[in-house]
Symmetry: C2
Subunit: 324 residues, 2 copies
């Protein structure tokens, strides 16, 4: 049996936050190694301190490239380009230096993904405030309407969004047959790449009960065009029913029209282990649903289940094995 | 100790559907009598047959008025004005006669509530198709924008809606400081009546992250006006966070701007026991979240937990004892 586990890099997140300690816990669990050959990217010194916060006894070893990985959960292996002086870390507080360092690490992770050295990138929790202080927030991949999409994963509830952070009125204007059709083509292709053959996609309506001008004149024709080229899309479906149907297994994923359709569903449902992809870049980049949790940094109490799920989910999708 | 249990009438719903059998089960549980003096309204013959469907052994007794109630879960007591010929019931299928009968029963229930003979009305599952066939759908209380509101109850998640079944674009236009202020006054007054003193009300925004023109220029000022008269309102809050906060107990209830904000939250969360009130009429009228379930009528398999919760919830609110 050949080893089909992909190499996945995890950027440790803002060193002032809980990223390093939850990643240390996830690493130590041994679970991540069952699904991937993980490697970290960031500061070895920050990870050494975080191992202590987490109450673990685990050495940290700096490697120069992924081919040096010993592939063991008994030693944390990290790519460390020396960007961070550990004395610049202000635990539990934002600072511009750490914001800048996160941007540098994201660049390095992108290069690894683009060169094919890793099959996917997991982004530990960063601080958008710190990155704004360093004027590098643009380094975090953003959704560009019409060319990239936010894809939320919350167990069996998976939602890609046609529109994101735009005014509701503008969303009503922007939703078109073309946009729906394009989004369905992108979504179908990605789901197939991830190992879901002939994925069943539910398409949400825009108005209550999917009853309105846009539902009839834009979404419905967009769905029909997708069906005509063999995509298993259904819709528009009443926005208040479709997410529960997805949870129950009727669809592999939902295409939502509005940011809050998907986000209300995911956040209200309360599943633990949410993560998010930006669909657009040519490589997998996963992020976790939580932030840096400055109030509990260094206490060892932060939960690592979400980042662990994100690391394993990324590996599963990169390997074409479908959702975990 | 005086008996503070209110008298609550339950209209048995469309006799072609599961209403009678689930109401028989709820009655037989004995739970409803702990919180209320229940009385049914509809057809004794339909209830006798439904008792059999439910596999129960319970007599059905027709009473002429609520003062004849023996107040026991060992005998089903029903007000039956003789409107229904049991031979007109087409189990599992819509028919106009039963639609008309439901309209008559709703009238009778309303009269009981308006005269003060009962403290609240529970509507068993009706068929809007049958009522449309009889051209009496207007007898079901509808939301009238600006003067009545849909209030959903799903355990700790309680949501009143400022707008209902209108196009999203129109909702953007309709949401005004006046509407938000009026809705908050109504909501505050009702919650106080129901026994929640100084209720904490979370107000949802309209746009993603409550960041937009309407959030700033209409919702925020509406909330401020409510606060100025002593209402504990907070908002606008990000629509994707507020419902989870409510579940966690941060608010007693949420004021939502759009039909689908509240409905996506309630339906996706998946709590069992949802029910709904229309805020507007001078008496409590509760309905259940499910329909007539024609496919399982007469099999005795229909779940009665929702209607039972609706009956007990109505009693608790009518007695000023807060939510169950």
């Amino acid at each position: 049996m050949t080893d089909s586990r992909p190499t996945i890099v995890t950027m440790i997140g803002d060193p002032c936050g809980i990223g390093p300690e939850i990643i240390a816990k996830a690493w130590a669990s041994g679970e991540v190694h069952k699904h991937s050959k993980p490697v970290l990217l960031g500061s070895a010194a920050a990870m050494e301190r975080a191992v202590g916060f987490a109450g673990l006894d685990l050495p940290v070893r700096v490697i120069e490239s992924v081919d040096q990985l010993s592939d063991s959960s008994d030693v944390i292996e990290i790519l460390d380009s020396g960007k961070l002086d550990i004395n610049d870390v202000t635990l539990g507080e934002d600072n511009a230096i750490c914001g800048q360092v996160c941007a540098d690490w994201l660049d390095e992770a992108e290069q690894l993904a683009m060169s094919g050295e890793v099959a996917g990138v997991v982004m530990g929790p960063i601080s958008s405030i710190a990155m704004k202080m360093a004027d590098v927030l643009d380094k975090v991949i953003q959704v560009v309407p019409g060319s990239s999409y936010l894809f939320l994963i919350s167990g069996p509830l998976r939602v890609m969004h046609v529109t994101d952070h735009i005014p509701l009125r503008q969303a009503c204007d922007d939703i078109s047959s073309d946009l729906v059709f394009d989004a369905l083509k992108v979504m179908h292709a990605r789901l197939e790449e991830w190992g879901i053959s002939n994925p069943r996609i539910g398409v949400s309506g825009l108005n209550a009960h999917a009853f309105g001008v846009e539902d009839e004149e834009e979404i419905q024709p967009g769905v029909e065009r997708a069906k005509a080229i063999g995509i298993d899309a259904k819709g528009p479906i009443a926005p208040d029913s479709i997410f529960r149907h997805c949870i129950e297994g009727v669809y592999d994923a939902v295409l939502a029209m509005l940011h809050d359709q998907g986000h209300i569903a995911v956040k209200t449902w309360g599943f633990v282990g949410n993560c998010a992809l930006i669909i657009g870049p040519p490589y997998l980049q996963m992020s976790v649903a939580h932030g840096t949790a400055f109030d509990i940094v260094g206490k060892g109490t932060a939960h690592h289940e979400m980042i662990q799920t994100a690391m394993i989910q990324t590996a599963s999708l990169a390997a074409g094995k479908g959702f975990i």
